[in-house]
């Protein structure tokens, strides 16, 4: 039996009086990838944030890579990474400085050169020394992806990764996802581009009002 990358046991998440995730259970084997779909406001971003340990379920247990996401968050965090609507960057640092900071926190060997390589790869090297405040929407997305790649996580959480990327960037993103998968990373991909998503993943979870339903 292969280990589980994600295992949700009856999790729910409440905001104020509203349940964004309701009694959700599912599991994903390590190495396999999951497509997350659902209407606007169905809870995709919330679920990804919970898996990334940026938020925690109000009730229920979530295990990621065998760790309880709430109690063992410290052990879990080095192995998951999230790209979402909020980009986590410091607006007044440059792209290179932002990445370098992550690299140092992660204890990457030779941070400077891996920053350079990643910026190159995401097509940002000509703007490495611009403050993020001056970036366009797509450039921000690219930088966020670079940050995820820097971490080389075991579980990669991608929230609408194709949004804002130009066609070339979109193709590259697909390739990146395949590369991650080839290295054994489980990808959880939330997107509204269902065909594209289906071609990249093996499993699917469709949410409606925070509940699991079969896609229609």
């Amino acid at each position: 039996m292969s280990a589980l990358a994600v295992e949700a046991i009856d999790i729910s998440k409440r905001f104020g009086a509203r349940w964004a995730i309701s009694r959700l259970s599912f599991s994903l084997a390590q190495g396999r990838s999951l497509l997350l779909t659902g209407h606007n406001g169905s809870g995709k971003t919330t679920l990804l944030r919970i898996i990334s340990t940026a938020a925690f379920p109000t009730a229920g247990t979530l295990k990621v890579l065998g760790f309880d996401s709430k109690k063992e968050r410290d052990s879990l965090r080095p192995s998951v990474a999230l790209v979402s609507h909020a980009s986590f960057h410091y607006e007044d640092l440059t792209a290179a400085q932002n990445l370098l900071l992550s690299a140092k926190f992660l204890g990457v060997k030779d941070p400077a050169s891996s920053v350079k390589e990643l910026l190159e790869r995401m097509g940002l090297s000509s703007r490495a020394d611009s403050a993020v405040r001056q970036f366009s929407a797509g450039m921000r997305k690219r930088l966020a992806i670079a940050r995820l790649l820097m971490k080389a996580p075991k579980v990669a959480l991608l929230d609408e990764p194709f949004g804002e990327l130009d066609p070339a960037g979109s193709l590259q993103m697909e390739q990146l996802i395949r590369d991650l998968q080839a290295q054994g990373t489980s990808v959880v991909l939330a997107t509204h581009l269902i065909e594209q998503g289906l071609s990249l993943t093996q499993e699917r979870l469709h949410l409606e009002g925070g509940r699991k339903v079969s896609p229609t």
Binding site: S12, R14, F15, G16, A17, W19, S22, R23, T58, A59, E208, G209, G210, R211, V213
Partner: protein
């Protein structure tokens, strides 16, 4: 007054609150008993304070307000101590019970403290000639109250229950630092106001009337705290119910 007395009072309160929380059977009875006892004791306190105790040496009869002024402020102290305890307990192990207790003790503490300060202020008018004076004891007490008002404001401005609980536990502990400061302020900054009296500096009968007043008000403090606690719990459980297992049918869209 020996330092053990306030600690004993705190202990008594803690035991009663724990009993109330842990033993459901006592819930409808205990607070009523306490309140009733308090009412009876209050009647006696009036008599003792007005007629039995000797007039205060410097302030004559106005000084008799002492027997409620001091107990009120002490009750606020005790409630805030309880708040700090609950805040620590919450950060150690999350529990909605300690969160609710923290909320109720802070609110009741602010209430009792405000009444106590108001009485002090009423007292100040005839004795010092002003409503208020720049005195470390008065200021540190007021500042302590303000820090708990900030605590309550934060609670009411935060909607998410989990965040509210952890944030306010953190703020509660930091505010708790003002308790010993208030207590010692009289010694640090030499004060107009009375320092803590020792048994030596206070007439025997005055001391015992004061003690009577303290116990009386403790009998009121307890029902206030548990009633407020029950309100907080009710609000929590209303927000806490899990969603139904199946999606409600009609809302298929």
């Amino acid at each position: 007054m020996p330092a053990s007395i306030p600690l004993l009072l705190l202990l008594a309160l803690a035991v009663m609150v724990v009993v109330h929380v842990v033993v459901p059977k006592t819930r409808p009875i205990l607070w009523k008993v306490s309140a009733a006892l308090g009412l009876v004791m209050l009647g006696l306190l009036m008599y003792l304070g007005m007629f039995y105790a000797p007039p205060e040496a410097f302030m004559s009869n106005v000084g008799r307000i002492l027997y409620v002024h001091v107990p009120y402020i002490w009750m606020a102290f005790i409630a805030f101590l309880m708040n700090v305890g609950c805040a620590f307990a919450y950060l150690m192990k999350k529990s909605w019970v300690t969160d609710a207790l923290a909320e109720s003790s802070a609110e009741v503490g602010v209430l009792f403290g405000a009444v106590g300060v108001a009485m002090g202020s009423i007292w100040a008018r005839p004795t010092w000639g002003v409503w208020w004076d720049w005195d470390p004891r008065l200021i540190s007490t007021t500042v302590m109250l303000l820090s708990y008002v900030g605590y309550l404001a934060l609670r009411s401005f935060t909607e998410d229950p989990e965040r509210r609980a952890t944030w306010s536990a953190a703020v509660g502990i930091l505010s708790g630092v003002s308790l010993p400061i208030t207590y010692y302020s009289v010694r640090w900054w030499n004060s107009l106001h009375q320092v803590q009296s020792s048994t030596a500096s206070v007439d025997k009968t005055m001391g015992s009337v004061l003690l009577w007043g303290l116990v009386t008000l403790l009998c009121f403090l307890f029902p206030f705290i548990v009633k407020r606690y029950e309100i907080a719990r009710a609000r929590q459980t209303a927000a806490m119910e899990l969603p139904p297992l199946e999606a409600p049918r009609p809302e298929a869209a």
